[in-house]
């Protein structure tokens, strides 16, 4: 789960991490007032749940009321990667001497949190990682020890020589780790963390994402959630036991299991088609799940054909076939369907489908090829 910059900084400042003075605004008038109160220069920053807002023109430094108005008018309502900007953060302009990157995430290989810092903060950290990987220092945090004082100091000394800054930084790093652990974050990032002209650390930006699996025990974080339209769809799907991610192709997919679903999409692509979605219906032969899944697929107008790929494991193929028939009887869809059914009792299952006049194939590649050809027929 993602949250906005302003929300991340509210959390950071609750842990006494110094952040810029700032005001969240929903209108041009609010921006004007806020800028006046904070005193120029201020920075007007689009609050959207996607990256790259800087490149998209969603961040403006303004030096007077006219510039503030112009920036607010331009940014509010702007579209950034499909997200409409509905609010902006007006933050006090800060004069600084250097920009640091500081972030924590989980490293699969060490099975631990990893603390990353770089003296090349301020730019997209992925670019630093690509162009100059040595400029990012990584410190694996022992889960039993946490961010021990010596460890935070060691990281701080990797950035600074001045003891005052080292002490500020190690204190801040310990707090940042506490934020990470307390909130079940999957990422916390301050970029840039600046050294101000008067020699203090200040977080100019903040970014946090959270472990969806842990939201059940993080009600305060969950309350911050502002899902996009697509995400609402995904969440609805999840509540029905389905994992759904929308894509841009024409072949709707219904598969049991995430790996098989991905492999199905790959197969479609391999034969020149384009999947319209990732959809994992999980186990069980419950007809309602198939109905829900089908409705989800059909809610996407780009879908021209539906390819159902089920591997019968614990749930036997004959049961799956019966479930499919029950479901399809209820929805009467108008576009073609290709069903591939394999695994335990597949013969019996295919026989049931054939009797119900549902088109079946035996292998994934056959299914993919047939779906593609049907989608092309449709387009013709």
């Amino acid at each position: 789960m993602k949250i906005h910059e302003y929300q991340a900084k509210e959390i950071l400042s609750r842990y006494e991490i110094p952040v810029t003075k700032e005001v969240l605004c929903y209108s041009v008038a609010e921006v004007q007032t806020a800028a006046g109160e904070l005193g120029f220069p201020v920075v007007v920053k689009a609050q959207v749940l996607t990256g790259g807002r800087g490149k998209a023109g969603g961040v403006k430094l303004v030096r007077n009321a006219d510039e503030a108005t112009a920036a607010a008018e331009k940014i509010l309502g702007m579209d950034i990667k499909g997200y409409t900007v509905e609010k902006v953060l007006v933050a006090q302009g800060v004069s600084f001497v250097s920009e640091i990157y500081a972030g924590i995430t989980i490293d699969r290989n060490t099975k631990s949190a990893v603390f990353m810092v770089s003296l090349e903060g301020g730019v997209e950290i992925e670019e630093v990682a690509k162009d100059n990987p040595d400029a990012i220092l990584k410190f694996t945090v022992d889960p039993d020890l946490g961010m021990a004082p010596f460890f935070a100091r060691k990281i701080a000394f990797a950035l600074f020589n001045d003891l005052k800054l080292v002490n500020q930084a190690s204190d801040l790093f310990r707090k940042l780790y506490k934020v990470f652990i307390d909130t079940d974050a999957s990422l916390v990032e301050i970029n840039p963390l600046v050294v101000t002209s008067d020699g203090n650390l200040l977080a100019l930006d903040g970014k946090m994402t959270f472990d969806d699996n842990a939201l059940f025990r993080q009600p305060a974080i969950l309350a911050l959630n502002e899902p996009s339209e697509d995400e609402i769809k995904e969440i609805d799907a999840k509540e029905k036991g389905l994992t759904y991610i929308r894509l841009d192709g024409s072949i709707g997919c219904m598969v049991n299991g995430a790996g098989l679903a991905m492999a199905t999409m790959d197969m479609i692509k391999l034969y020149g088609g384009e999947p319209a979605n990732f959809l994992d219906i999980g186990g069980s032969s419950n007809p309602q799940k198939v109905i829900d899944a089908m409705n989800l697929i059909l809610s996407d107008n780009g879908v021209k054909v539906v390819m159902i790929n089920i591997f019968g494991g614990i749930t036997r193929c004959d049961d799956v076939a019966k479930g499919l028939i029950a479901a399809l009887e209820q929805i009467k869809i108008k576009i073609p369907i290709v069903i591939r059914l394999s695994g335990t009792n597949s013969k019996e299952g295919l026989e049931i489908l054939r009797k119900a006049n549902l088109p079946t194939v035996e292998t994934m590649s056959e299914a993919a090829q047939k779906a593609i050809s049907l989608s092309e027929d449709f387009l013709r």
């Binding site: 989980i106 992925e126 889960p143 990422l187 842990a214 299991g257 991905m262 492999a263 999409m265 292998t363």
Partner: protein, 290 residues
């Protein structure tokens, strides 16, 4: 032989009285797995499919001599269940539970390492050594005893693959689903080494997936340590990037994570990568000169 589970496996089921726990207990017993006990706090004295229920893993180990445990408890309690098994001296834990918080697994990891407990999962389908023991939610009937070792990050894709192996006369020594969570128990490296050391296994199938760099690490491990033939398939070549990996995830596995990179890493390690799952049996037969 086989790896991790066999006829000597004495299995406990944690969460045996739950819906999934009781259902799969029966399935595992049907397959022939020695399920010696179940755990459900406060239900000591009851039984499920004839298996005695205990209050704690420690009690169950003491009474039954169990050495392996499978976990079906809800995600919020899964980490605690793993710790309990480890503390009670269980050697191998298979965590089926889906949706375990990542930081719970971060906390579990050093403890089980210290106690020498091996973990498969969480969020995994389990594992099977055909005709020996099935510990998981795998459809036992599609497996066949043989010489192929299989490891995979995904469930149904494993079944798909096994179905094709079995259909082509290629039996399996052991098939392991390692699960897809960010922080999991055994990774490919450890399993590769076990298969390398298992005299029954003649070839290894590794089913990878986009995200992380487990496959790249496996490729390097193969170069350094594995002499047996390995073939692979990587799922998710067309999956939308960035949907599962965060900003910093991308930094950590800097330059890694895409299917193309994983395929390149494997090919560099001399591992043949199938274009589609159904190509795998053919590749193996060629490598084993069958």
């Amino acid at each position: 032989m086989s790896i991790l589970v066999n006829k000597n496996t004495r299995l406990l089921v944690q969460g045996i009285t739950g819906r999934d726990g009781s259902f799969h207990t029966q399935k595992m017993i049907d397959y022939g797995t020695k399920v010696v006990g179940g755990i459900s706090p406060g239900k000591k004295g009851q039984s499920v499919s004839g298996v005695p229920v205990f209050n704690t893993v420690a009690d169950a180990v003491k009474e039954t001599g169990a050495n392996t445990s499978i976990i079906f408890v809800p995600a919020a309690y899964a980490a605690d269940a793993i710790l309990e098994a480890s503390e009670a001296g269980i050697e191998l834990v298979i965590a089926i539970s889906e949706g375990v918080p990542t930081l719970d697994m971060v906390r579990v990891s050093p403890y089980i390492t210290k106690r020498g407990t091996k973990l498969i999962g969480a969020n995994c389908p389990g594992l099977i050594s055909p005709d020996e023991a099935m510990v998981g939610i795998l459809p036992g009937s599609i497996f066949k005893k043989g010489n192929i070792g299989l490891m995979s990050r995904s469930g149904t894709l494993t079944y798909e693959m096994v179905y094709q192996l079995t259909s082509n006369g290629l039996g399996q020594s052991t098939c392991v689903g390692i699960g897809g969570d960010p922080v999991a128990g055994l990774y490919f490296q450890e399993l590769l080494q076990m298969f390398e050391d298992d005299p029954e296994t003649e070839a290894i199938v590794l089913l990878g997936e986009i995200g992380g760099d487990a496959e790249e690490r496996a490729a390097q491990y193969i170069i350094d340590h594995i002499k047996k033939p390995v073939v692979s398939f990587i799922a998710g070549q067309t999956a939308p990037a960035g949907k599962r990996m965060g900003h910093a995830g991308a930094i950590i596995s800097s330059g890694t994570g895409t299917a193309a990179e994983k395929i390149a890493a494997f090919e560099n390690a001399g591992v043949q990568v199938a274009r589609q799952p159904s190509d795998i049996p053919e590749l193996i037969k060629k490598l084993l000169k069958m």
